[in-house]
């Protein structure tokens, strides 16, 4: 994983989303424990991430 400060985490069944100080929201596989993709890159720190109950949406709070 990165060395960035991580401010937010949201977990699904086999993946998790991590919001970082550098503004990135990254999807990691909990099966392979590898980075799957960078979903979003905000210009400011990500303060919170939340997955919708059906797993279809991720909400991101960023400055």
């Amino acid at each position: 994983m990165t060395t960035e400060n991580h401010f937010a985490v949201a977990a699904g069944n086999d993946f998790c989303l991590i919001g970082a100080e550098d503004g990135s929201v990254t999807k990691y596989s909990l099966v392979t424990r590898e980075l799957e993709e960078i979903l979003l890159r905000c210009s400011m720190p990500v303060r919170d991430v939340a997955l919708s109950p059906d797993g279809l949406w991720a909400a991101v709070a960023s400055e």
Partner: protein, 94 residues
């Protein structure tokens, strides 16, 4: 991807209701913004003032909202004048 731009100040927390149709955004301006989320454009349903405090984005305090499992409303940490946190539980919002 949708951008919720009704906030003029940074958002600090996001919280989904149990049904996944409503998103509560706790903003650093001390207002909780309620959005209806669907495949259409998100709609701002309500602004709730006086529930959470204004705070900086990196404040350790929490302004996070927790939804009741039956969807009737949510609770938020609210500082009373004496400094003790209390929980407000508004009625059904939408």
């Amino acid at each position: 991807m949708f951008y919720l731009r009704d906030q003029s100040r940074p958002a600090k927390h996001v919280s989904w209701d149990v049904g996944g149709t409503t998103l509560a955004v706790s903003c650093t301006d001390g207002v909780v913004y309620m959005y209806s989320i669907s495949s259409e454009q998100p709609q701002l349903l309500k602004r709730i003032d006086g529930l959470v405090k204004t705070m900086e984005s990196d404040a350790e305090s929490s302004a996070a909202v927790q939804w009741h499992p039956d969807g009737r409303g949510f609770a938020a940490p609210t500082a009373t004048r004496g400094g003790l946190p209390s929980i407000m539980f508004p009625g059904k919002l939408c």
